[in-house]
């Protein structure tokens, strides 16, 4: 079976796809287990994927959606452009949003897979959100940066960091002089390098075993199969076109009314194509919320694929049936240097996904979703300071509690989504682990009753987290959203409750904070984070009454809200009052 372009049967296709997915999983396992910063080893904020020699996404098993649907392709192309002569053992560091990366905080290692004859076959990517990247302030989301200079990150547009498997120390020294807590960064870099080396070793072994010709023949066939599945998925959808909007709250550098993202979705079942038009959006703004090309493309695709049969592989084959229209130099679209894309993976990217999903929902029941809750509240701050227990500086992003899931057409929210682009892949920090590694105490972490987006299938409730420094002061950075424009429902589904954030003074008084803040929390004070749940899907009055009863019994929804919003009357003895419910729902 080493003959080039030999036709593989369905069994061989399934096997090879599984083996390539296994390589991604193996890379990811290495990153998780060996990473040094909490954002890697506690929150799992990283992705691993394989692109073909032609820079097309082949597989990104169990990755964060926002990291991979588009971006790996663009980054690989820039690697070829800047380094036309690739050699075995080369590794490139890439974090430039102007050349295909998601945002500067996502350091990516690209490793071309080159056989002993010097032929390049695939490129592997290990992409990981860093605890720090040398920004001008200790956060990896600089929401108010007017440009990349104020943002301050070191930008690496596919810069060679290893030659013949030897790390180029010049780059390491630069990073060590600029990135906070350099040993932590270097440990994470090693973890990424380990992942790349392991992936390369595995892929070389696979090519040697089955023949490179067969493997490339496989990719062609796998793309065709994926495209065929996508065609069938689109043809099973209703045809139509709809436009929806989603608005991010104002922060410094944005218009006072916030930033509204408009997404127009067209499903053409005859041509089996889905188009997303994002051109009707504002010009780039002097803030860090602009969305990189990779994240704009990816966000539109997430908005689509969240409604596509899950078993359709997400790769360049399926993407042939998607057409995107992007605005040059738009706030979402194709940003041009030196516009800042610091918070490009989350805030406005989520708004692209939410507007796209709500447009999908407008086209037909069974498509789209409510809006997924907003990022990034203070419970996911980047915190920094000096740990009084050992006198050492620290910097890291917390993932202390999130919900955000939205109601979907066939099921309630997956509660712990984090935010739309994350797909729920990140972990939630253990309170005990965070208290060991950071001089903080977490005094509260609980779901908020009656805060869910109601619907036939409901969104997640919001979550309140309260934390403060212990025996020291702590700097915290966050770029929250959802205080004015809370997550909306779809198809008559309700909105989730608003977000908020406060400083609690030693006497207990609450002081409201700006949504986009870089602040010091003093010893004795705490930071209170009220994060959004997600919007609901469908009319709450059509929700299965037993589900409402369960939510009430579990203390997520009050009896009053059950009656008012869902039209389900529940007695004090926790029984559904059938006649009263029928009457309430008939109104």
């Amino acid at each position: 079976m080493s003959e080039k372009n030999s036709k593989l049967d369905g069994a061989k296709l399934a096997i090879l796809s599984n083996r390539l997915g296994g390589i991604c999983r193996k890379m990811g396992n290495t990153l998780l287990r060996t990473g040094r910063s909490g954002v890697l080893n506690r929150a799992k904020d990283f992705s691993c994927c394989i692109v073909t020699k032609d820079c097309e996404l082949l597989t990104a098993e169990e990755s964060l959606p926002i990291h991979v649907l588009s971006g790996p392709d663009l980054m690989a192309r820039s690697m070829h452009e800047f380094h036309p002569n690739l050699k075995k053992g080369d590794v490139f560091l890439h974090n430039s949003p102007y050349h295909g990366d998601s945002h500067p905080a996502d350091h990516t290692l690209l490793m071309p897979v080159i056989d002993d004859a010097g032929v390049h076959h695939f490129t592997l990517l290990a992409k990981a959100h860093q605890a720090d990247i040398g920004n001008s302030i200790p956060t990896t989301y600089h929401g108010t940066a007017r440009d990349v200079y104020e943002e301050g990150a070191l930008i690496f547009p596919a810069v060679k960091v290893a030659d013949n498997y030897q790390v180029i120390d010049d780059i390491i020294r630069m990073c060590r002089m600029r990135i906070r807590v350099p040993d932590q960064w270097y440990g994470d870099f090693l973890a990424m390098l380990g992942a790349a080396y392991i992936g390369e070793r595995e892929l070389l072994a696979l090519g040697a075993e089955i023949g490179w010709g067969t493997l490339h023949g496989f990719t062609d066939q796998w793309f065709d199969y994926s495209e065929k599945r996508m065609i069938q998925a689109i043809q099973s959808m209703p045809a139509g076109s709809a436009t929806a909007q989603s608005t991010h709250d104002a922060i410094p550098g944005t218009p006072a009314e916030g930033i509204t993202i408009t997404s127009k979705v067209t499903i053409d079942t005859n041509a089996a194509m889905i188009e997303v038009d994002l051109t009707d959006n504002s010009e780039a703004l002097a803030c860090g919320l602009n969305v990189s090309e990779a994240c704009t493309r990816t966000s539109a695709m997430i908005g689509i694929f969240n409604s596509v049969d899950n078993s359709v592989p997400k790769n360049a084959g399926a993407f042939r049936r998607v057409k995107l229209h992007l605005k040059d130099n738009g706030v979402v679209g194709i940003p041009r240097h030196p516009i800042s894309c610091s918070a490009s993976t989350t805030n406005l990217a989520d708004r692209i996904q939410n507007s796209t999903m709500r447009a999908m929902a407008e086209i037909g029941d069974g498509l789209g979703m409510g809006e997924i809750g907003c990022f990034c509240p203070p419970s996911t701050s980047v915190v920094s300071g000096t740990d009084p227990r050992n006198g050492k500086p620290y910097v890291n992003q917390l993932f202390l509690g999130h919900t955000a899931g939205a109601g979907a057409p066939f099921e309630d929210a997956w509660m712990t989504m984090l935010h739309a682009g994350n797909g729920g892949m990140c972990y939630i920090d253990s309170v005990e682990l965070d208290e060991i590694y950071t001089p903080i105490r977490v005094t509260k972490r609980h779901l908020i009753p009656d805060s869910e987006g109601a619907g036939r299938f409901r969104g997640a409730p919001g979550i309140e987290v309260e934390l403060g420094p212990v025996d020291c002061r702590m700097e915290a950075g966050f770029v929250a959203d959802g205080n004015i424009h809370n997550p909306l429902g779809a198809r008559a589904g309700g909105a989730a409750a608003h977000s908020d954030q406060f400083r609690r003074l030693p006497g207990g008084t609450l002081e409201r904070l700006e949504q986009c803040s870089q602040i010091w929390i003093e010893d004795g004070e705490t930071l209170v984070s009220i994060a959004c749940g997600g919007g609901g899907y469908g009319d709450p009055k059509s929700r299965d009454a037993d589900r409402v009863l369960r939510d009430v019994a579990e203390g997520l929804v009050s009896r009053e809200r059950a009656a008012e919003i869902y039209g389900v009357i529940i007695t004090e003895a926790m029984q559904i009052d059938g006649p009263a419910t029928r009457a309430a729902r008939a109104e």
Binding site: A191, Y225, V431, E435, I436
Partner: protein
């Protein structure tokens, strides 16, 4: 005489070990409504085989070692006790939020898992410790009394208690335990610092929640087992297998029933370790236990069985983590009953859906209409339709051929035999991925490992799997069809003690580390003097869970001695850690500080034999001849059939060949060879 009895999903396997060391294997149907009955049925089969009354037969038994699925079944079917969860004030949603994470990020049809204990039965207790064990907020005992009132009013049947940092200072958990014992004496309680003293509050909380919820029913089950065995005439000791791969007295287990979750499956690697060390030269072993619906993989690394701290009940992120270390077993939905189908795009899938025991594969003729792996094996000639389970179940080859032709061969555009081979290949690949995943996680190279096959179906594709993984050897032990029960006959009375003590290579305090080890050793000694009294031998192994500074996932490194004596011992430990890190993750960082977190001492007391027993010959010598078998690449080949009783030990025979017993069929592909080993195993060079 000793009995080892493993209750599986379909069969209850019994191995009887005579005083002369000879073994006999029996299989009785499992009786899910009353599993003790299946145990007694299997014992009755053995008694009948010896023409003895059951009571007389049982009276000769010194020991019965039992593997049970009762605990896991109760969880899966939701038949556990009505359990309350007591948690630190401000943190009521530990069991709801869990640790986050998800699989299949584009799949919005999967419900978010319900918490193991509902929020409605969760109670926040005013109290708080910090990481150094200081009291941040004193325990409010009046509030605890109010909660106890509510628990009584709600007729709670079990209570799980997990407070933040109880591992740093257990005073509050202990006091709440006392109050519960005083005011709800009939209700069992699990405290997290006692059950599972480990970092990460969700893992401790989940452990106590599961443990407490199992206490009432496991107490009843294990009580009933011992009583009915005694009533039937058994006067020996009843021991039960644990997820950690050892055994403990039945009523001990009733007090910490979470350890029974993987009772049974954890025995396959114990058996595998014995066979690997006694019959193979490879340093490592991959132990694959095949069943009707699942394929369970475990490992032996240089004589040790690797464990995992992440044991899930159900799928990862969609089920519940036990929070507890157990023998690392990777289970996938790939077994004889796995269903094959071709999707709209023309891709073949096998499993995880299973036809189960009912209706079962199409060839059973019991109403199955979907093609399964067993049907494919029959079509290929791997299985003899007239000799399945020794001929007790006649298989319908025509029905299997028809269904594969229609549902698989036609849509794939393949010949019938090629389609059946493709089913086997895809199922095999699922098994290979399971093995790859666990070997990756544990850093074992299959090229250094023998593949040991257990369960009735192991022999069908083990050669294929070994070739795919590059394993140099396959071993199908004589007791393979009852591998778990066999493992039980050689398992030790074991327990493990853990202690959290944080230190680093930089701030190393040898005296403090030695004090931790001394305390652990004293606990082990008490165990040796207590339940372990009378053991032929015993041993204590020490280990430490270590990581590089600011990593959060530890790897376990064995300690060379029970105490540290000077700087050289620390340097050796650091070197061992660096080597282990590189072995597992391809990199290490010798310049980094190493952190030591969890200290363990496991004690094993040898109450059973040391292995080496042989199965009494079960006939089958007349089973021979040849049949037509399809091999991929070779087509249909006339293949000779062998019964182990006809083979000469040590004589190497080339494939293609089939070795068949009433309990199992082993396929030797062309190009492979095998011999009968002295110990009765089939030793294959793939």
């Amino acid at each position: 005489m000793r009995f080892a009895c493993d209750t599986g999903g379909t069969f209850t396997d019994l191995i009887v070990e005579g005083d002369d060391g000879a073994l006999a294997l029996y299989k009785a149907p499992t009786t899910p409504d009353d599993p003790v009955l299946g145990v007694l049925d299997a014992l009755a089969l053995a008694a009948r085989d010896r023409d003895m009354e059951l009571s007389k037969f049982l009276s000769q038994g010194e020991m019965l070692i039992h593997g049970t699925t009762h605990a896991i079944n109760a969880i899966i079917t939701g038949n556990t006790a009505k359990t309350a969860f007591l948690t630190t004030q401000g943190h009521p949603d530990i069991l709801v939020l869990r640790e986050g994470g998800r699989i299949e990020p584009f799949n919005f049809r999967i419900p978010y898992p319900e918490p193991y204990i509902p929020r409605a039965l969760t109670f926040e207790v005013p109290e708080r410790m910090d990481g150094e064990g200081n009291v941040v907020l004193a325990l409010d005992e009046a509030a605890v009394m109010d909660i106890i009132g509510a628990l009584n009013a709600q007729k709670i049947e079990a209570v799980a208690v997990c407070f933040l940092w109880s591992i740093a200072n257990p005073a509050h958990e202990t006091r709440v335990g006392e109050l519960l014992a005083q005011h709800m004496p009939e209700v069992p309680v699990s405290l997290s610092h006692i059950l599972n003293p480990a970092l990460r509050e969700y893992r401790r909380a989940s452990a106590v929640a599961i443990d407490a919820s199992l206490k009432p029913l496991m107490e009843r089950y294990l009580g009933s087992l011992t009583e009915r065995l005694t009533a039937a005439g058994f006067q020996g000791r009843t021991l039960v297998l644990t997820s950690q791969g050892g055994m403990i007295d039945a009523m001990e287990l009733a007090s910490e029933p979470i350890h029974a979750i993987n009772s049974g499956p954890s025995m396959a690697p114990i058996a595998g370790r014995y066979y690997a060390s006694s019959e193979c030269t490879e340093p490592n072993a991959i132990v694959a236990d095949t069943g009707g619906t699942t394929y369970d993989v475990s490992l032996v690394r240089r004589g040790r069985i690797p464990k995992t701290r992440e044991t899930w009940i159900g799928q990862p992120f969609r089920g519940h983590m036990t929070g507890f270390p157990s023998i690392d077993i990777k289970s996938v939905g790939a077994g004889g009953g796995s269903i094959a189908r071709v999707d709209d795009g023309g891709i073949l899938f096998v499993g995880p859906e299973s036809a189960g025991a009912a209706p079962g594969p199409v060839c059973y003729g019991a109403g199955g209409t979907l093609p399964t792996l067993t049907d494919a094996c029959l079509v290929l000639g791997y299985l003899d339709p007239d000799y399945f389970l020794g001929g007790t179940l006649a298989l319908d080859t025509g029905a299997a051929e028809a269904v594969i032709q229609e549902q698989i061969a036609a849509p794939l555009g393949l010949e019938l035999a090629a389609a059946a081979a493709a089913i086997v290949e895809v199922a095999t690949e699922n098994m290979v991925q399971a093995i790859t995943e666990i070997t990756v996680n544990q850093g074992i190279d299959p090229a250094d490992a023998v593949l040991i096959g257990g369960g009735g179906a192991a022999g069908l594709n083990s050669v294929f799997i070994a070739r795919r993984l590059g394993c140099p050897r396959v071993l199908i032990p004589e007791t393979g069809a009852g591998l778990s029960a066999y493992g039980a006959t050689i398992s030790d009375l074991t327990t493990e003690f853990r202690s959290i003590y944080f230190t680093t290579s930089e701030d190393w305090d040898e005296a403090a580390a030695n004090a931790v080890l001394a305390a652990l050793e004293a606990k082990c000694q008490a165990f040796i003097n207590g339940p372990g009294a009378g053991a032929a031998e015993h041993r204590i192994e020490f280990g430490v869970e270590a990581r590089y500074a600011s990593q959060v996932w530890e790897i376990e490194v064995p300690l060379a001695a029970s105490r540290f004596q000077g700087a050289a011992d620390l340097q050796k430990l650091i070197a061992d850690f660096n080597a282990a890190h590189e072995e597992i993750f391809a990199i290490n960082d010798p310049s980094s500080i190493v952190e030591f977190v969890g200290w363990t001492a496991s004690v094993a007391c040898k109450l059973t034999g040391s292995g080496g027993g042989r199965l009494a010959a079960d006939g089958g010598a007349e089973h021979s001849g040849s049949r037509q078998i399809y091999f991929e690449g070779a087509g249909i080949v006339d293949t000779s059939i062998h019964a182990p009783a006809q083979l000469t030990p040590g004589e190497e025979i080339s494939g293609p060949a089939i070795i068949e017993t009433p309990f199992t069929t082993i396929v030797i592909d062309p190009g492979a060879s095998f011999h009968l080993a002295n110990a009765g195993s089939i030793n294959i060079t793939p």
